[in-house]
């Protein structure tokens, strides 16, 4: 397409006039159209609606031409002898040229020694960027970020350095300010545009690398802090050098953040650098640094993105990162993500305009200034860990990341902590929730690890299953630590035991129908896992009364537990169909529905049950009968079976008394072997009495 010579000033006026026209049409056309129509006027207002529709495009194109002409005038590009600038005219070419010119303008602004001019230029780019974001102009956004990525990554530190801090009094008052309100708004726009270009797949591998490998990763992370939530960023990138698996930009940034932490390459700028901080500044200083902790920023965004979380924790740095975030490095205090150390590497703390983030376990120069311990936001960390193991189970790459993430997390847990002889959960509730969810997502793997004691911990694709789904195995010490941590909260302990017992009931129902799990002894494995909980529970010294909480939680869990889909497993047919595939196993034994707790119904059911039975009886009868009902071996009676749940009331007691002699066939054995319902109950009691915890027997 040809070029047009434009007068930059007049074309800018034309753009403003067209924007005014666009706004006038938007404000007035509906009044005319609706009013005339309400009176049944025959006047044809179609052309007005057309005008309202075309005006935004005209205005936006003209603004792009004006912006391009102005930029080219500044950059001495395509200027003819009459003061006109030759620019392309058609929308596509103008957009591409404008994006290039804006990228160049950003580079020029960052290099500009005049702070006022530099800030004005950045604000003008922000305005143009905002227009293109509003117009969802993916071509422009992609073109801009692919060219400006290094400068965009550097923007936060540039803005910080451009802030003068004002006069002496203002500078003193701004001594905790990293980025002004105005800077934050600029970064919000640039972050929003970057996320949009990222999510649309417009970023080249080079642009991704320029952001993720930014020389100042703190600066790059501020685009995430002030940008949109992690869910608005891409879940993966084009594969390229340095990113052979095509993991997300957020994951790459987090990985590089960790690498930069190890080399002491993260610097948090603070204030205009007017002098040393005093003792009176300590608290505010600590808060200001914590608010700029790039780990908290990235963990929050990764957790919101989910894919980024599992790519990080299942990636090459997942293990060391988990060790740092959940345990401790090189004997340092636990769960630190670093120390903020005042002053630069060579200034011995004389210039307080930035704090270096030193990794845990590294000794600090005694001549440094103030030192602040940094612990990442625990809620963000909990959400991040929860997301890291949340990829759907199966054979996919995502499933592999999450499986490795689960192993990395569990392998780096500290045991529950002891306080005056009482054991308590060692982590924030958000992290405990992540651990509980991880346990439930990998329940069959946990059972297998308990039933087949080994010292090997890892995540591998199962080669004997179709598609090679990912599974994890835990060494006994790792499993014990996890179970102990989960059991340190008596409610959680009871809840998880209830789920495992319910699964055992399901397993018994399937076994009696002759259905087995491929290559596995699921009953023994579940019993071993149940046993491990009892073993670790016995080791815990709960405070008075919490034992009862655990009992209540287990019964609540058992009663509330309903597995409506279990009945869909094929149980009739030739022998081959009675072996569960991996997918069927996961459907039956994996990712249980978490029951609702503390409902009046469950509490009433427990109260009724305790009038009829002991807790020991209830803990065995409920899963046994639930499993037999699920498999249609015994018909449920609506007097004691409601909403898919066994209610151990008086009617149940009467039913049990009348039916305990009921013969139940075990189809898993050759021939027609029957046993009475009461015998299966007695067997289950023995089963649950934990003769199967091989780990306990050996230790």
């Amino acid at each position: 397409m040809g070029e047009v010579g434009v007068d930059p000033q007049r074309v800018a006026q034309a753009a403003s006039a067209l924007e005014e026209l666009r706004d006038a049409l938007a404000a007035n056309v509906p009044t005319i159209v609706n009013t005339m129509s309400s009176y049944g006027s025959p006047v044809n207002t179609g052309v007005l609606k057309q005008a309202q529709s075309r005006a935004p495009g005209d205005a936006s194109d003209m603004r792009s031409r004006a912006r391009l002409a102005a930029l080219w005038l500044q950059q001495n590009v395509n200027i003819d002898g009459q003061g006109l600038v030759d620019i392309p005219w058609d929308h596509q070419s103008v957009d591409a040229a404008d994006a290039t010119a804006e990228a160049q303008a950003l580079a020029d602004a960052e290099a500009n020694k005049d702070p006022k001019a530099a800030l004005a230029a950045i604000k003008a780019i922000q305005q143009d960027l905002q227009d293109h974001i509003k117009a969802n102009d993916q071509a422009w956004l992609g073109a801009f970020y692919n060219q400006a990525a290094p400068q965009v990554a550097n923007l936060a530190i540039t803005l910080h350095n451009l802030d003068s801090g004002g006069n002496a009094v203002q500078a003193y008052n701004n001594r905790f300010t990293t980025l002004t309100q105005s800077d934050q708004q600029v970064l919000a726009t640039f972050g929003q545009g970057l996320a949009a270009a990222d999510k649309s797949g417009s970023l080249t591998p080079d642009a991704v690398a320029a952001i993720a490998n930014a020389p100042d990763i703190w600066s790059a992370s501020m685009l995430v802090k002030y940008g949109p939530p992690g869910s608005d960023w891409a879940t993966g990138e084009q594969k390229g050098y340095g990113n052979p698996d095509g993991v997300s930009l957020l994951a790459l940034m987090t990985q590089n953040l960790y690498q930069d932490l190890k080399t002491g390459n993260i610097k948090i700028p603070l204030g205009p650098g007017i002098g040393r901080y005093g003792m009176e500044d300590h608290d505010k200083l600590g808060n200001a640094l914590a608010a700029n902790d790039p780990f908290s920023v990235m963990l929050k965004a990764d957790g919101e993105n989910k894919n980024a979380a599992w790519q990080v924790m299942g990636g090459p740095d997942g293990g060391p990162l988990a060790q740092m975030l959940l345990a401790a490095e090189k004997g340092d205090l636990p769960q630190l993500d670093g120390r903020f150390v005042e002053g630069g590497p060579n200034d011995k703390g004389q210039y307080p305009n930035f704090f270096t983030m030193e990794p845990p376990g590294k000794s600090i120069d005694v001549d440094s200034g103030e030192i602040f311990l940094s612990t990442p936001d625990q809620k963000a960390l909990g959400n991040f860990l929860d997301a890291a193991t949340s990829a759907p189970r199966g054979s996919s790459a995502d499933a592999g990341y999450s499986a490795r993430a689960a192993v990395n997390i569990i392998s780096n847990l500290l045991p529950a902590i002891t306080d005056d002889g009482k054991i308590q959960p060692g982590y924030d509730p958000a992290i405990m929730k992540a651990l509980t969810n991880t346990f439930l997502r990998y329940l069959p793997d946990m059972a297998k690890s308990a039933g087949n004691p080994t010292n090997i911990t890892g995540a591998d694709p199962l080669i004997y299953e179709q598609g090679h789904p990912w599974e994890i195995s835990l060494g006994q010490d790792k499993l014990s630590t996890l179970v102990q941590e989960l059991s340190a909260d008596p409610n959680n302990y009871g809840h998880l035991k209830g789920i495992i017992a319910a699964k055992m009931g399901t397993e018994l129902g399937l076994q009696l129908q002759g259905v087995t799990v491929n290559h596995e002894d699921m009953p023994a494995d579940l019993a071993a896992l149940y046993g491990r909980f009892v073993t670790e529970g016995n080791n815990l010294k709960w405070v008075n009364g919490t034992q009862q909480d655990a009992e209540n939680a287990e019964l609540n869990s058992l009663i509330s537990f309903g597995e409506s889909e279990v009945g869909s497993i094929p149980v009739i047919g030739p022998t081959a169909s009675k072996v569960l595939t991996w997918d069927q196993k996961m459907k039956v034994f994996g990712v249980p529905q978490i029951p609702e707790f503390s409902t009046d119904n469950a509490a009433n059911a427990i109260a009724q049950g305790r009038q009829e039975f002991s807790d020991t009886q209830l803990k065995t009868m409920i899963p046994l009968v639930q499993g037999l009902v699920q498999q249609k071996i015994i018909p449920p009676d609506p007097r004691w079976y409601q909403n898919g749940q066994v209610i151990p009331n008086q009617a149940f007691n009467e039913w049990w008394g009348e039916n305990k002699g009921l013969p139940v066939q075990d189809k898993s054995l050759p021939g027609s072997q029957y046993d009475h319902l009461d015998s299966w109950y007695q067997k289950s009691v023995i089963w649950e009495q934990l003769q199967h915890d091989a780990y306990n027997q050996a230790h």
Partner: protein
């Protein structure tokens, strides 16, 4: 209220609405008028720009033509409201006025 007052009330409401329509039309006309002098060969040189200006001018002439015809359309609306109301009054002469 008698039929006469009712007719005047309806006409007055229509006149108010039509004056709003006219104000809206004038606002658009003004904005077009401000843009037009800037969209000329004094702002740019080149066949593509000239073609774009031709298209823009052509289109907005039709918009202005419509807007120019609005006073007549507005008057027709007011007149029709009056004649409709008067027809109603004749049809229901002697009957109570609807409230």
């Amino acid at each position: 209220m008698g039929w006469g007052a009712l007719i005047e009330e309806a006409v007055s409401a229509a006149e108010t609405d039509m004056s709003r329509v006219q104000a809206a039309a004038e606002a658009i006309n003004t904005a077009i008028g401000k843009a037009r002098p800037l969209l000329t060969s004094g702002t740019w040189k080149g066949p593509e720009a000239a073609s774009w200006i031709g298209d823009w001018n052509g289109f907005y002439k039709s918009v202005q033509s419509l807007l120019g015809g609005m006073p007549a359309a507005e008057a027709a609306v007011v007149s029709k409201v009056r004649s409709d109301m008067e027809a109603q009054a004749r049809k229901h002469a002697g009957q109570p006025v609807p409230s």
